[in-house]
């Protein structure tokens, strides 16, 4: 990494350096190539990095397919997810009913596709809300420090300590189980992790010399937080967010289990899974549990791979480095 120029180059009067006397053998043999690559936009470069992560690309493809499937699928399937049909009750997977039917004779594939709409959108919305709240609280606490930090972190502690489901029951009981109540309920249970992560990143980043350097050239507090600290604190947040998707799906299913989630006949993956408990255990209808569980599994795994790939791609230190 060291420069090999020996004589300190003289700065000739007003003429800027740069012309013919540039020494060869600088620090990067691929300097020209680097300069060319980095002229691209940030998104292009991130995407290029991301593509190198095969699992992440796979996750993105699968999640994309799932999204398309849950949006378009219900129209393509010749079954109404909510129509009760005694003659088709409790059928195993077959060519007609690819994922079998439940005890009321509803086609499970149709219910999974319709349920996916709710599950995916609720998880995404809840993660987004939790992220915004967590980043805001964490950033203020970490940057301000002292008394404000203490107050905000005690609030976080209180949210950790409170029996989460109690709050959710209260919330749902008071407002009723609407879409946004459930989103807020999930967010309320999961924003604290992000807040702590962001706070701890901020605590270490705000002491970094480049923050001090930004201050010496006249940057404001808001500018420092938004431009200098937040971008460097994002990687753990992205990982937390992808894990949050998994968590949100699980919380949603827990709510459904308690009867506080979406009310029947609305289907969600978590709800389908909890409905399946007795069928799987008592009557051995394995398809009732397998398929909703598989959907959750695949979604969570894909989200995690995407998070992994994003973290690598967004880390500027990995840019321009050829991997394996």
């Amino acid at each position: 990494m060291s420069e090999v120029r020996l004589p300190p180059e003289p700065l000739g009067g007003s003429e800027p350096l740069g012309g013919p006397d540039l020494p060869g053998g600088g620090d990067s043999p691929g300097g020209g190539e680097l300069a060319g690559e980095s002229a691209r936009s940030l998104t292009a470069q991130t995407w290029r990095q991301f593509r190198r992560h095969r699992l992440a690309v796979g996750g993105l493809v699968i999640l994309g397919l799932l999204t398309v499937a849950v949006i378009l699928g219900p129209w393509l399937i010749p079954f109404d997810p909510n129509r009760i049909e005694a003659s088709t009750a409790n059928l195993g997977p077959s060519l007609t009913h690819l994922m079998g039917t439940d005890e009321l004779g509803r086609d499970q594939l149709a219910r999974i596709l319709v349920g996916g709409r709710l599950t995916l959108s609720v998880s995404a919305a809840a993660v987004l809300v939790a992220l915004i709240a967590g980043v805001a609280v964490g950033a203020v606490a970490g940057y301000a420090g002292g008394f404000i930090d203490n107050v905000l972190m005690r609030v976080v502690d209180i949210f950790y300590a409170l029996p989460g489901l109690f709050i959710v029951i209260l919330l749902v009981a008071l407002i009723g189980p609407s879409y946004w109540t459930i989103v807020i309920a999930i967010a309320v249970l999961s924003w604290m992790n992000t807040a702590r992560l962001v706070r701890s990143s901020f605590l270490s980043l705000k002491e970094k010399e480049f923050v001090e350097a930004a201050r010496t050239v006249g940057a404001s507090d808001v500018g420092i937080v938004v431009r200098h600290i937040l971008p460097n604190a994002l990687s753990p947040v992205i990982v937390a967010a992808t894990l949050g998707v998994a968590n949100a799906i699980l919380i949603e299913s827990a709510l459904s289990f308690l009867g506080l989630g979406f009310q029947p006949p609305e289907a969600t993956w978590g709800g389908l899974l909890s409905d399946a408990k007795s069928s799987v255990v008592i009557t051995g209808h394995w398809w009732r549990g397998l398929f909703p569980g598989l959907m959750i599994f695949i979604t969570v795994l894909s989200a995690n791979f995407i998070g992994d790939g994003l973290r690598d791609a967004l880390d500027p230190r990995s840019a321009g480095i050829k991997k394996g």
């Binding site: 990494m1 060291s2 420069e3 120029r5 020996l6 300190p8 180059e9 003289p10 700065l11 009067g13 007003s14 800027p16 350096l17 740069g18 540039l22 020494p23 600088g26 620090d27 990067s28 300097g31 020209g32 680097l34 300069a35 060319g36 980095s38 002229a39 970094k208 010399e209 480049f210 001090e212 350097a213 930004a214 201050r215 010496t216 050239v217 006249g218 940057a219 404001s220 500018g223 431009r227 200098h228 971008p231 460097n232 500027p316 230190r317 840019a319 321009g320």
Partner: protein, 333 residues
Amino acid sequence: MTPLLEVRDLVVRFDTDDGTVHAVNGISYSLNRGESLAIVGESGSGKSVAAMALMGLLPRPQARIAGGSVMFQGRDLLAQTEQEWRRTRGREIAMVYQDPMTSLNPSLRIGQQLGQVVRHHLGLSKSAARVRVTDLLALVGIPNPGGRLDDYPHQFSGGQRQRLLIALALSCDPALLIADEPTTALDVTIQAQMIELVKDLREQLEMAVVWITHDLGVVAGLVDKVAVMYGGNMVENAPVRDLYAHPQHPYTVGLLNSLPTLEHGERRLTPIPGSPPDPLHPSGACSFAPRCPLAVDRCRESPPELVTLAPGHSAACYRSHDVTRRPTLEVQP
């Protein structure tokens, strides 16, 4: 002509749980436009704190300026509001930091990082800022400046990053540049380059420079004046030639004796015995007395004042007339 910068009796205290830290105890110096001053002292002597006070960036609420004034271009910096400070920092007074590896934001491209400073202070448009940054990179000797604007800091070598920091500091033509040990993290060849670079740029841009260092060897050919700090006090203040030829304070002599020279062959370096004073418990006497080979009873009773001994040369020592360049007898080869 009023000086560009005039620091009078600056006192900085830190309030900690263990008591009050006497970081800077009434230092004074002045600097004309285009002039350069080195503040020399060992770790903990208060030199960096004194510099941060000039930037209005002392850690709050622990640090407090307990006295004195800092006049810059005829106005008192210590009376400035935070808004005014933001216009001063980077625009009129800029700073180069010690560690080039960590002083650049790793997630911002160089063009943006430098560009936002010139846009903030000079109100340039995005494209004008790009042109300005390209010129700056060329000025500090980055090869192919136009092609490096969209690179991230990690794509530059250590020496280049220090150049980038200098470019950042120079971006708005400041009247005063504070260099806080900008060469300590670099290897010697790059150190020499940086010193040359700052020297050339100073002449070219007519900036005043305050160079903070613990290394008297670095500043010899670089600055006009040297101020030596010890334990938060300014113990000697002199034009650079005078200081090397006729040091008037035993601590300065100690510093000079701990430098390697070429003149005396394999002479062993002479360290200064003892350790620096505890800033939590000032002795109320000369802070160097416990380590001083010349100390007499008087030194342990009351602190000496800074006394002018020759034009531009002052020292805070009762025995400054007895100080010689090499108090230890040497065997000539």
